[in-house]
Amino acid sequence: MSLPILEAKQICKQFKDPVAINVLNDISFSVNKGEFVSVIGKSGCGKSTLLYILSTMDTDYQGELLIDGERMTGRKDHELASVRNEKIGFVFQFHYLLNEFSVLQNIILPGQKLNKKSLGELENRAMELMKILGIQKLSNKKPNQLSGGEKQRVAIARALINEPHIIMGDEPTGNLDKKNSEIVFDIFNQLSAELGQSLLIVTHDPEFAARTSRIIEMEDGRIIRQ
């Protein structure tokens, strides 16, 4: 249980435009398998910036990033894309579902991209996930027919389709009301507790953070408590 899934070593980032600002300063921490970690901090403290670096989407930083023991720093665009596809699941503040596809298609899209399972297997897994998330009745609807909470749950199902090593969330409850936030949190908790899923969630909601297994608090680009 102590194997680190994600390791950040002395990560620094600067915004050079309009003036050089250190957004992240010497960030080092790791997330172990099965941990439910939340990152909190005030707006502008660099927590989202950190998340995008950890998610491999942002490659403009100094320091070193390891996912699943492999070095991500300095890899090529398409290699990082396949790492994101296979090992990381994303849940954003906004759902980012494709309105052109049905809910089911949206969920299995990353799976089709990974291309390790047949379409039938992927559909079975998607249905299973939807059952866990309580949205199995929505599979043939289009995302624009769904409520905000439902959309977010579809996005979580999509994040889970490839059985990722870690799920990263950027304010996943930021756009949701109390009730739906609660549902989403319970899902995360359940994933962590029952399936041993590692999670790294950025939030500014202290209540949400308080209930996670570990809190990393940031201020002005530094980790002040973890």
């Binding site: 398409h78 596809n85 980012y96 052109e100 596809f101 899209l109 990353p110």
Partner: protein, 419 residues
């Protein structure tokens, strides 16, 4: 599998915005339709106009020019060959207009692989007598079969029967204008006087219309034997040998060769009709230019629509990239969209182009210059369809290339953070 997935994503994006897709495709369809119809019509007309000339023009014509002997006796004399000789009042010699040894020459030319065929011809100046007026005219003595085969003689005989010329002795086919002047109907007898003043009676077998009024007022045709009789010449008397070649472009070279080999004058069609090439190629260039302009304009239309689509789909591109689609995949998706529009629009365009061509083909078109043509001439050359298909794909490829590259470079972080 990845490619297949990308194509299915592209298809979904295309169908989701099918109205936009239609507008883009209609642009391509319209331009390809116009391209095909325009080119088919223009080249059809071009071929018609060219054939007006080319059908009746020999590629090489062998004849004897009446002219002064370039080797005057004094130049041949060894006594004066170191002198500079001035000779005044040189006259054309009494050389004959006939081609010497014509039977052998024709036999040799017929054996030449480069030659499609030849037609012997006699030109003779005559007077047509109508009451007490004489009308000057020309009777061509022709080999009817060769003339029909090589110079489409039948197309220009508007009434009457060309085979009568060969089968019935002393028959003549008159130019339309000439026949009107002579008030000669088919079956009537016209009187012809040769240069020596001898009279002949010839039966009218048909009318000929070339479309050139001045020629139709003077020209007439009879068989070689008939004309030889009018002129009082033996049956080896031939003034012209008209040669059609398999490859027109060799005309100049072969003309030179024949002139040398057979000691006659030879003229190739380009020398005789220098203005012809210019007009023909200029018309082709114009029609291609218009067609290609249309396609390029359609290409810009597609470019715009794809650009719009990318702004529209920024979120989708971002999430595709976040969930593991690489820039390459995104590029492929947009290229498939562009080429899909090109393929669909292009295929419809080819079909509509063909239909418009068929329609134009039905529009009545009467020209005295081309009595055999009743509707607009259309050229259904498959080359145009091929060019249209290739060009529709090439323009859409380039129209899609830049937007697709832009899409592939979308930074998901910026989009996702922007919300």
């Amino acid at each position: 599998m990845s490619v297949k997935l990308n194509i299915s994503i592209a298809r979904a994006l295309l169908l989701a915005r099918w109205k936009q897709t239609m507008v883009a495709a209609v642009g391509v369809t319209f331009s390809i339709t116009m391209f095909i119809a325009l080119l088919g019509f223009m080249t059809g007309l071009n071929i018609l106009l060219d054939s007006l000339l080319m059908n009746r023009t020999p590629h090489v014509r062998l004849y004897r020019e009446v002219r002064a002997n370039p080797n005057q006796p004094v130049n041949l004399s060894s006594q004066y060959n170191r002198h500079y000789n001035f000779i005044s009042s040189v006259k054309s010699g009494n050389s004959r207009e006939q081609i010497y040894n014509s039977a052998t020459i024709m036999q040799n030319i017929r054996r030449d692989d480069r030659v499609l065929g030849l037609a012997p011809k006699i030109t003779s100046q005559v007077f047509f007598n109508e009451g007490n007026i004489d009308i000057t005219g020309v009777v061509y003595g022709i080999d009817v079969e060769a003339e029909i085969r090589l110079f489409y003689f039948n197309d220009y005989v508007i009434t009457g029967n060309t085979s009568d010329l060969k089968n019935v002795a002393n028959t003549i086919i008159l130019g339309k204008g000439l026949a009107e002047k002579l008030l000669a109907d088919i079956g009537d007898i016209v009187q012809v006087t040769n240069a020596q003043g001898e009279r002949f009676r010839l039966k009218v077998a048909g009318y000929y219309q070339s479309g050139v009024q001045s020629l139709d007022k003077t020209q007439s045709f009879a068989s070689i034997q008939t004309v030889q009789k009018i002129l009082g010449k033996p049956n080896n008397y031939i003034t012209d040998i008209l040669v059609k070649l398999k490859d027109v472009n060799q005309a100049a070279a072969i003309a030179g060769e024949y002139a040398n080999n057979y000691e006659t004058d030879a003229e190739d069609f380009k020398t005789a009709n220098a203005q012809f090439e210019t007009g023909s190629s200029a018309r082709s260039v114009i029609s291609y230019a218009v067609g290609i302009t249309l396609l390029i304009v359609a290409g810009f239309g597609i470019y715009n629509i794809l650009n719009m689509m990318i702004y529209d789909k920024m979120d989708s591109i971002a999430i595709l990239k976040a969930t593991g689609f690489s820039g390459k995949d995104v590029k492929l998706i947009f290229m498939v969209i562009a080429l899909g529009i090109g393929l669909f629009g292009g295929a419809l365009g080819l079909l509509f182009g063909f239909l418009v061509s068929l329609l134009l083909d039905q529009v009545p078109f009467h020209s005295s210059a081309a009595p055999a043509v009743n509707t607009y001439p259309i050229n259904y050359n498959p080359v145009f369809y091929f060019i249209g298909a290739v060009f529709s794909l090439v323009t859409t490829y380039f129209a899609g290339f830049f937007p697709a590259r832009k899409a592939s470079k979308v930074d998901p972080v910026i989009i996702i953070r922007g919300k």
